[in-house]
Structure formats: C-alpha cells, structure tokens
C-alpha cells in the first residue's frame, strides 16, 4: 500500500478519468509509463498530481509515444512488478503491435482505454472504434458504463490480470467524454480496503529474479507457434471463470453486482437491443419510458465482458426475444458491425432464431438520445410484430442526408 493514504469521502464526485486515476493509485502500481491523448489525458494527469504530492510510491515515466508507453510497460512487467497505462484512439492504434506482444508474452498489464473515434477525419470524441481495434489482440476487455463502473472495473482489472491462472493483460474501457468527462457520484473503497482487495503482485519469470535467468520474447517457427498461440487462447478463454469469481468477491465487498453479460428488463422482453458503454444507461431510461407509455416490452443486453466473448451467455440471454438490434458505435468498414457479427455468431448454433439487425450510431461522439432510442425501439417492435425485417439488415442511424441501408434479407 502507498505510504501516504488519501482520505476519501464515502461518496465522491468523480468523472471517469478521475475514477481511473484513483483506482490506479489505490492499486499500488509499481510503474506507469504513459503518453497524453484526449480524452484519456486526465487519467494520467491526475495520477501525476497524486505522485507529485506523495500519494504514489511507484514510478511514473512520461514517454515519447504511446508505442513507447506500452513497450516500457511490457519491459517493466516482465521485470517483475505491477504496471499500467492509459490511452485512446490514435494512441491505441499506434501501440497496437505492442498489444499483441504483451498478450503473447503473457505479461499482466492494465490499460485504461478511454474510447474515442479513430481518424480520419480526426475526432476526439467518444465512440468504440478503438475498442473494436483491440478485438484480436488477445487482451481481456471489460466495459464500464459510468464513472462508478470505471473505478470498479479498473480496480478489478489488476486482480484478474495477475491471477496465476490468467497472467494476461486487461483493457478497462469507458466512453470518451460521455463517461470520462462526466462527473457523477462514485462510492470508492478506502485505500486500505482497495489495496487489500487487489492483493500483492506475485512475480512469475521475472527478469529481476537472478536466481532464475529467463528469456522473454522468443521467435517461434512453424513447429512451435501454434502451441503457444493455443495456450494463450486457452488462458484467455479460461479467464472468464476468474472474472466471474472476481465479480463475486467484489460484490461481497461492496454490494455492487456485475455480470459478464448485463441485462436490463429481459425477463419479459419481446425484443432487445445489444449495446456497449454509456448507451446502456441512456437506454435504461428509454426502456422504462416506452414500456410505461407504449407498452413495448423491450430489454437491453450488453457483453460487459467483451473479451473473452461470452458466447453462451449472450445466446442464452436472447433466446426468448423475437427481434434484436445490435447497436455498433464504430465505423463498420465495409461490413456489418462487430456486435452484429458476434451476436449472430452466438445465436446461429442455438434453438432461437430472432430477427437480427445492425444499427450504426453515435460515431465521433454524436449523441444517442432517449428520443432516438425510442424510435429504434418502435422500428424493432414493428419488425417483430410483422415477423420480418422491414428495411435492410444494416442501417446508419442519425446521419444527415439520404438514408443509408445495406444488405437485403435473403429470400425476401
């Protein structure tokens, strides 16, 4: 635990960035190597202020690029200690090769990713393009919908990452600006309680352990590569169990309950949307209103655990609905969105065959309002009642100009 404790109030008012910073501080990180980029910058700035005022015993190095930030984290993590960094968008894109390297080398690192649109055009606001870019990098990826959740997820990320059965790096996601710059009530843990929950870092194959010299970052040929990637995949898939155990332990400690797949009013839902990030909370308002006012029985599903993808739980959550709209907040790049693909992939081998559509929305920080969501719900409800997708499979929602829709339903 840091030698100087910070006396937190039982309810603080923090934005998502401060939530990250406080979780990082309480986690007693040994080395943070970081580079500033909007909208994640404050995560690092707050942490540096804590450091300058003696609240952080670990080291902070401000490196010369995001690629260098993750490279230093991998080196420091391999040396044998707790490491973390934060970034967004272009910075994430710059460090992408190092993400693959970190997970392949099985180095525990926590990355606070404040989700922001990817250029071009250049845009500093919140969308999920950077989250989607990390899909195949072999990292555990968890999504927070609010500053409270950002604090909780970032804290839990260390425990998950360093677990002996996992030893994989973790991304703690939150929406840029919508979460990172929105101050809300946060109930933090006391320093001592938080540090104890995260636990001590346990070294494994540490470079600084001279009793056991170790070679990290080898080259493999065709006779060995597959075994190591298979082992990595097995660890990533198996981490779900550890994540659920960590969620359970966290609930014991705080009363806050998290699931790998979050649901809202799915028990009696006829139709559902699937989404990530702050849209989930906006949708909760829209769902309550439309149920009350128009009797449309809609629910929300979200894969809070994005990687490893909870395919079975997603399939189970959507068994009883007649239509699902998968809402992707990222430029789709010539095909259907990631959530559409992953949800459809989950449902194809299950008994249920709901109508599945893909909505592209909110790019570059464009708001998804309660009103906008209610329109989406009405369209979805009509599809369900008609027993068919009335439009095309993919629609770009809320864009000025002629309607943009793609992919006819086969056999229509």
């Amino acid at each position: 635990m840091n030698s100087k404790e910070m006396n937190l109030k039982s309810t603080e008012v923090w934005d998502g960035n401060m939530a990250n910073s406080q979780a990082l501080r309480q986690a007693d990180v040994d080395v943070i190597a970081a580079y500033p980029i909007t909208p994640s910058t404050a995560t690092v700035e707050n942490y540096c202020t804590f450091h300058a005022n003696g609240y952080v015993d670990g080291e902070v190095i401000m490196v010369e690029s995001e690629h260098a930030a993750m490279s230093a984290c991998i080196g420091a993590g391999a040396a044998g200690g707790r490491v973390a960094t934060a970034t967004s968008s272009q910075g994430l894109a710059l460090m992408i090769e190092t993400l693959y390297q970190a997970s392949g080398m099985r180095i525990p690192v926590v990355l606070c990713l404040v989700n922001r649109a990817l250029a071009a055009p250049l845009n500093v606001n919140g969308d999920h393009s950077d989250l989607y870019l990390t899909r195949d990098a072999g990292w555990i990826s968890i999504d927070a919908f609010s500053p409270q959740e950002a604090y909780d997820m970032t804290l839990m990320s260390f425990k998950i990452s360093e677990h002996p059965d996992v030893r994989l790096p973790v991304i703690s996601n939150q929406d840029g600006f919508m979460t990172s710059h929105t101050a809300q009530n946060v109930t933090p843990l006391k320093d001592e309680v938080a540090t104890k929950f995260v636990g001590d870092y346990v070294q494994l194959n540490a470079l600084l352990n001279f009793d056991k010299p170790v070679t990290h970052g080898v080259q493999t040929e065709q006779d060995w590569h597959f075994e190591h990637k298979a082992k990595q995949h097995a660890a990533l898939m198996g981490s779900k169990k550890v994540i659920e155990e960590t969620f359970a332990e966290f609930k014991e400690l705080t009363g806050r309950s998290y699931k790998v797949v979050e649901e809202y009013r799915m028990d009696d839902a006829d139709i559902a949307i699937v989404c990530l990030g702050s849209t989930f909370e906006t949708a909760m308002l829209a769902v309550d209103q439309i149920r009350k006012d128009e009797g449309i029985k809609i629910g929300i599903v979200s894969p809070r655990l994005f990687r490893p993808f909870p395919l079975e739980e997603i399939a189970a959550s959507l068994q009883n609905v007649k239509a699902v709209a998968c809402m992707d907040r990222s430029a789709p790049g010539g095909t259907v969105g990631a959530l559409y693909n992953e949800i459809s992939g989950a449902l194809i081998n299950s008994p249920s065959r709901p109508l599945v559509t893909n909505l592209i929305y909110g790019l570059g920080g464009r708001d998804m309002t309660v009103t906008g969501l209610k329109d989406i719900f009405r369209t979805l409800d009509k599809d369900a009642k008609d027993g068919k997708i009335n439009g095309k499979i993919q629609t770009l929602i809320g864009v000025r100009g002629p309607a943009l829709e793609y992919y006819d339903v086969e056999g229509k």
């Binding site: 392949g104 056991k212 990290h216 190591h228 082992k231 660890a235």
Partner: protein, 136 residues
C-alpha cells in the same frame, strides 16, 4: 522438467514461450562459475550442436601454441576453450568452421590450421607445416 520439451503439449509449456537457461534455481553468480560446473536446462542452446555446419575444421597444435588467447576472444561461437589462462582445445560441438581462429593465430607455424572435416586430428597434427622463414 521431467519430459523432454519436444514431447510436451501446449498445456505443459511455460506461458509466453519463456525459456530458462538453467535447471532449477541458481544460488551462485554464473559469471564466477565455468560452464562445465553449471546445470544447464535442455532449452539452453549450449546443449545443441552446430558442428554439422562445418566442411572444414580447425585443428589445434598445443606444441607451437603460446596461449596468447587471440583465438579465444575472436571466436564468434564460444568454441575455443580457455582455462587458467591456457588454451585447452576446440569445442567441436559448437564450432562452425569459420576459420577466424586460424587467421588471428600469431605463431609461426600457426597453432591452429583448417583441415578437411573428415581428417582425424592425429593425421592433421602429423601434417603440420614447418616454421616459415622470413620472406617466404
């Protein structure tokens, strides 16, 4: 490690493809212990041989050798064995036959010369040239 690594499945490998140089933990300073007293792991390259790279090999003549250690320092393959400031011989498991040891040997005649791989050391020593006279 009980099983040779080549027989291991993905589940038995060290995560991250990390490799250990030595068996178990070491409680000594490696830099103070010569290789023959170390306990190498099977994953140290020391246990492999690259001798089959050669078509010619260096043969060492201890009689003309002055232990200058030029061959020791300039061998790229750690294949010149030096102990107690004396040249002890060539490590044929690790020697690739580059011939640098011969080119840096200062004695006349040289104390290291290249011979065909199939030539026995005994025969090679029997064929050793005489001292070169000045101007030769």
């Amino acid at each position: 490690m009980n099983k040779p690594i080549n027989e291991m499945g993905w589940d038995e490998l060290v995560p991250g493809a990390a490799l250990y140089s030595f068996e178990g933990d070491i409680d000594y300073n490696i830099a103070e212990i010569q290789p023959e007293d170390r306990f190498y792991s099977e994953t140290s390259s020391q246990s492999m041989s690259v001798g089959d790279w050669r078509v010619i090999k260096p043969v060492w003549n201890s009689e003309t050798c002055i232990d200058c250690q030029n061959c020791w320092i300039f061998c790229p393959d750690t294949s010149i064995i030096a102990r107690n400031k004396e040249m002890k011989g060539v490590d044929y498991d690790h020697c690739k036959g580059c011939g640098l040891c011969v080119s840096v040997c200062p004695t006349n005649p040289k104390s290291l010369l290249m011979f065909e791989e199939y030539e026995s050391v005994e025969n090679a020593l029997g064929k050793w040239p005489e001292k070169k006279k000045k101007g030769e």
